[in-house]
Symmetry: C2
Subunit: 328 residues, 2 copies
DNA sequence: CTGTTAGCGCATTCAA
DNA sequence: TTGAATGCGCTAACAG
């Protein structure tokens, strides 16, 4: 690769000092129109591009960047989250860098010298995050953090699960089933059943028919739902692990000739806008995503104000609330 | 804001030289375990975070970043595109920074000192892009570019539109309608009807019933579709501007008791994975998104190899091909 | 194993 | 209106 064209090359080419080049490149005034043109022409001739690193270094980093780690772009939850975050971040003058490849550790590593802080629905323990982040502050979504340097916005899904089941009962449901994610199995079974499954079983009590596990995708959700209904045809309400899988359940019910919500009520989790697009529109335990992004950015700004030093854990909580559409 | 903690502060605190601090922070070897601990402790005590700009400056920028400008995160097309791009980019060692706020010019401006090149479905002319990008290379998606410094990956949608209509005819369709995007009206009517509308009308000929315009959203598509069918109930095939709007059309047809594809065949554009989630699954003119991202990254790497100098336009073309699902 | 010397490429003082 | 010095914070190359 050829040696980089620097401001000095342009200065030489134009026969002026480097200052004059800076002035011309940044529309700074205090420069005659003639020299500006001359400099700009020289810059273009040489194909000059100012180094963004040198510039940011000397201007004392006025623009910050946060890294968002997502498990998969195939799940609209993450893309909707990313959208919200990018928009909210832009309003506060932050840029968002995305990463999704491989493991959490790899993603964080990739991000580590591009951003000031990393954010994500991390599954690993705080210690592990701290180790891979090497001092880079971390904000974990969904689950609370404890160690300094790791902060969190917890999502209170439990109250949503409880509310969902109680209301389903009021609407006549008596036989509850659930489709959990098989994710934990895939990664070696380190993680047990999802917390939401625990809350579900606790609240449902002896009205439980069964919990089956499915892959986190539309079709995976559909297959798991079909399996559940085959084994327990008397099930009249199903909690799906998330909206993505619930979409598959609605589709699957249709294919099996099962009436929704007449025979079975279906509830998802996440509150995706996408749930509107299916028929019947999906009822969901929605997390307050506006609040989620707002709290996240609050934390991130607090970290920025402290120059990204390792602060004691900042923890926030956002609520979940039922989004009753037509599937339940 | 307090003065930033630098490597020198840590060196002083630990009683070593700055180089030793570097070695400790970067696991570099050639350092005793004792001093490493000492340095790390000092760094933590002071809350030291290496400046990513200074580091990248001196290491000669080995990692690049590209900026992706999207019109809206509400349209799954962009989120699916973003997902593809982030994954493909990661494989080649690139980071992706996203922006969506406000106008194209604003988004490019925000990105300008964070990335090495910007990419997006830009609607403005090359001249305008060049002006706002200030020398930052631009890759425009969908439409071809001509000026040096602006490159492109064109999407050949025309052949897809033609193929769609011909096959629809083979399947018995005789009365064609279309729902176009109202976007161009909203921004002052500077842009005429969409090119895909032109190709549609040309191919359909006198079998056209009507073209109506709708807002680019699920509900907007649904309303426009309903309007079209109300005015021209004999329409038996409809091309929707994109899949997002087509989703609304399928939903609307269902609500109106119109059988799809029995009474009306519905075709979208984009080939979203999401089209699988509705009933009936959406037929679509799919662009080759794998090819799109691959070509884009090829261009981007060519630009990097030239140190992001202003190269003559690089233009690539990707095909579109029909994705026959059940709605048509 | 540790410290010293040199830049990386730019913008912000100051002088002229 | 222009130019000369200075430093942002870090790592690479060399020294010891």
């Amino acid at each position: 690769m050829a040696k980089r064209v620097t401001i000095l090359d342009v200065a030489a080419e134009a026969g002026v000092s480097r200052q004059t080049v800076t002035r011309a490149m940044n529309d700074m005034g205090d420069i005659s129109d003639a020299t500006r043109r001359k400099v700009l022409a020289a810059a273009e001739r040489l194909g000059y591009r100012p180094s963004r690193f040198a510039r940011n270094l000397v201007t004392r980093q006025k623009t910050h960047a946060l890294g968002l780690v997502v498990a998969s772009f195939r799940n609209p939850y993450f893309t909707e989250l990313a959208g919200d975050l990018v928009e909210a971040a832009a309003e506060r003058g932050w840029q968002v860098v995305m990463a999704s490849s491989g493991t959490e550790a790899e993603a964080i590593n990739l991000l580590s010298n591009q951003v000031d802080v990393v954010i994500g629905h991390f599954t690993g323990p705080d210690e592990e995050l701290l180790a891979v982040a090497k001092g880079l502050p971390v904000v974990r979504l969904e689950t609370p953090s404890a160690l300094p340097g790791v902060h969190s916005v917890e999502i209170d899904l439990r109250s949503g699960v409880v509310e969902a089941i109680r209301t389903l009962r009021e609407r006549g449901a008596r036989r509850f089933g659930m489709v959990d994610s098989s994710y934990s199995e895939e990664i070696g079974g380190v993680y047990g059943p999802s917390p939401r499954r625990g809350w579900f079983e606790e609240e449902v009590g002896d009205q439980l028919t069964a919990v089956v596990r499915g892959e986190e995708s539309i079709s995976g959700g559909g297959r798991a739902f079909a399996r559940l209904m085959e084994r327990h045809p008397d099930t009249d309400a199903v909690l799906m692990f998330n909206d993505l899988m619930a979409l598959g359940a609605v589709q699957s019910a249709h294919a099996l000739g099962i009436d929704v919500p007449g025979s079975v009520r279906i509830v998802g989790v996440d509150g995706l806008a996408l749930g509107e697009a299916v028929d019947p529109p999906l009822t969901s335990i929605a997390m307050d995503r506006k609040g989620l992004t707002a709290h996240t950015l609050d934390i991130v700004e607090a970290l920025a104000a402290a120059d990204f030093a390792r602060l004691d854990s900042i923890n926030r909580v956002v609520a979940s609330k039922m989004l009753w559409r037509q599937s339940a």
